[in-house]
Amino acid sequence: MFKSYYVLRLNNKKDLSKLFFKDISFFKIKYKKEYVLLYVNKDNFNKIEKYFKIYNIDVYKIGGLLKYKLLLKKYNIFMITVLLSLVMIYMFSKITFDIKIMSNNKEIVNIIMKELNDFGIKKYHFVKSFKEKEMIKKKILNDYKDKIEWLEIDLVGSLYKVNVLERVKDKNVKNDIKQNVVSSKNAIIREIRATSGEVVKKVYDYVNKGEVIISGKIKKGENIKGVVNADGKVFGETWYNVRVELPLSYDDKKITNNCYNSLTLSIFDKRLLILKKIKFDYYDISDTNIITNNIIPLSLNKSRICEVKNNKSFYTYDTALNEAMRLSKEYLLKNLDKNSEILLQKKLKLYEENNIIVVEVFMKVYEDITSYEEIKEGDSDADNNFRD
């Protein structure tokens, strides 16, 4: 592969036999219609060079290491520039240009900034390795246990982004606030898990939003014997009406298997195709980065270009209903707690309005309805407690 060789073109085939007697070695000879290709190594090239004019010989191709040497010689300025640019890009990607601490607390910001500075994380300095970064993080967390709860140092391009969570003492404990567990929504109670306080509602009771379910006031008969911080979880059955609007017709985009690969150069949000042109009217491109850089928004990608076929599709009442059911369920689950469950899904109305199919869906949901309400001193019951 790397052995240097020359391929020479002998334009007059008749002269070949004369060359055989010039003490020149040819490690391959290829006979073409109009000419003959002679493969020689560097030593034999020097021997045959003097016959170039006599026998009408020219260099057809250069192969092996010599080819790269000549290319390097020809494009040396370009290559050196590219190499220097790559080195510069690499260097710049390893330098910190800014440090951002994501906190509003000036004291915390100053502490972290000072610590980072002491550990060598500063502007216009080289970035730290992952190991060093983790060590710095641990040390800061250890030194400021009482002030910092959590800390993360991320390197985003050439910027250090420090996410920090301040340690806050539990306000309830600090201020000794007492609270009731109340319903966050109008619901039918399905499950009560009380850890403290007095449960004042039963499963299957209907509760309005804000109604007390676990009370912090401990009663004995009619009298309040004490006030505690009520806590627990309450799950209830809630109801939703979801309105889904679907157009009568829609574009159904399908990515076909008619695909090909190409090299693309991405500059900011522009994409330039290097090897092949886009053959399709509608297409989908997925990129795999080959060379990318965080500082310069330029990347070389291997892109897979697939034809997209746009089909005009129409909803029937049946398909629209199915789609509405799917969308409403998806929408609700996305907006609810992950422990929530849809108990019932029912169509309420289905009609057409200005080329739009409207589906109204009723949904019964099992969800967490726990909320808290502070017990204030002015509360009549609480006053009663204080009198006792």
């Binding site: 070949l16 036999s17 055989f20 007697f21 020149i24 070695s25 040819f26 490690f27 391959k28 000879i29 006979y31």
Partner: protein
């Protein structure tokens, strides 16, 4: 004896003619005397070897090896 065998094996300066369907590989020849479409003549230790055939062409020509392609009809050795 064994060392001599190894040296001979590595050096391999034996004169060989290897004939396959459309090619004739001649190893360790001395001199190429003539090249024509119908005949190629070589010399080895004062012996002349005549290769006759049709459309004979030299495919490789090196100090110790010569590869002839074409329709080979006859190989003749004259002492």
């Amino acid at each position: 004896m064994m060392i001599k065998d190894i040296i001979n094996y590595i050096k391999d300066d034996k004169f060989k003619i290897i004939f396959t369907n459309n090619s004739l590989d001649i190893i360790n020849y001395d001199k190429l005397l003539e090249v024509k479409d119908s005949v190629v003549t070589i010399e080895k230790e004062n012996n002349v070897i005549l290769i006759k055939g049709e459309n004979l062409r030299i495919d490789k020509l090196q100090d110790d090896e010569l590869l002839i392609i074409g329709y080979i009809k006859n190989i003749n050795l004259s002492r």
